[in-house]
Symmetry: C2
Subunit: 189 residues, 2 copies
């Protein structure tokens, strides 16, 4: 990566730029493999300049994840007002258009299994809420909503990994369509 031009920016813009650069680099290398130097270079900053904005390397990761959450809330609306089948399809369609974000989550989800990873608690909480949301949506039409929730989440995560590993030879939306048919076959809804 070439070092960019240096210039003075307002703090808000600079922060956005930093988060965008860090998102790409964390998706590529994970958190353990991320270097502040690379992020700084990408932004046309020195490392102390970068640290002025995010405080520490952990702070940078937290900023990235919080920014993602805000984006998600803005774009997805109220999940509990939708049908489970439609919600999943919409989610898959959206993910198919932003492989870099999907990769960010895939890499961090695995890396953060380690209890001392800075995103460990974040991903533990995320798993709980995702499973609960799916189960709540499935409850009216399924006799075992928790079991279905586990399977739905697993299928989405697993298919995404396959797709990220072979984006050219693989169609995420098509794979999900086929999988959903089996997943939702017996539902009364």
């Amino acid at each position: 990566m070439a070092r960019r031009e240096r210039s003075r920016l307002p703090a808000g813009q600079r922060r956005e730029q930093i988060i965008a650069a860090a998102t790409a680099l964390v998706a590529e290398r994970g958190f353990w493999g991320l270097s502040m130097q690379d992020v700084a270079d990408e932004c046309g900053l020195t490392v102390p300049g970068l640290l002025h904005h995010v405080g520490s390397k952990d702070g940078l990761l937290i900023a990235v994840l919080e920014h993602r959450d805000a984006e998600d809330r803005r774009s997805l609306g109220e999940p509990h007002t939708r049908d489970l089948r439609d919600l999943c399809a919409a989610l898959v369609r959206r993910n198919a258009g932003q492989p870099e974000i999907v990769r960010l989550f895939a890499v961090l989800a695995a890396e953060s299994l380690a209890p001392d990873h800075p995103a460990h608690d974040y991903f533990a909480a995320r798993q709980r809420t995702v499973l609960e949301s799916i189960a709540a949506l499935a409850a009216p039409v399924c006799p075992a909503p928790e079991a279905l929730a586990h399977q739905v989440m697993a299928t989405m995560d697993g298919l995404q990994l396959q797709w990220l590993r072979d984006p050219a030879g693989t169609d995420l939306v098509a794979m999900w369509r086929a999988a959903a048919e089996r997943l939702f076959a017996g539902l009364s809804g």
Copy 2:
């Protein structure tokens, strides 16, 4: 981790010890997060002593993966002589007893999405062969064996991630049993 006693060992035993230690540490931190110093400490060696056996850090990872492959071949027998449903159940049962190995693969599978990761090609090839094996087993009893293969692999990988994140609150074998019912419901076999 405390530094162990130093002693001279035959090369074969030392290699096994190194691979065991590295397996645990890679599962914990991934490859980018692995340090040769930690592996050496765990084995009661200095870093140059460790490098004498594995050549380089990449060489250590390759040794770990090759050792896993050998173990798998020894323990699983000929996969194509079995029924798909039974094979999956056996695999899940086995994985439920070795969370550390499952974590090794989960972490490396995500990390190795990066094209310059030393295990990138390994995991790309692995995905191809796993999908082909499942599809071959499914072909006699399923009209769309490739689609089923994607879904079976995705479900196993995804459930394993959920289980690793919450081993106490989650039962891998039970989750798979419930999922398999939906997965294999319409099969003619």
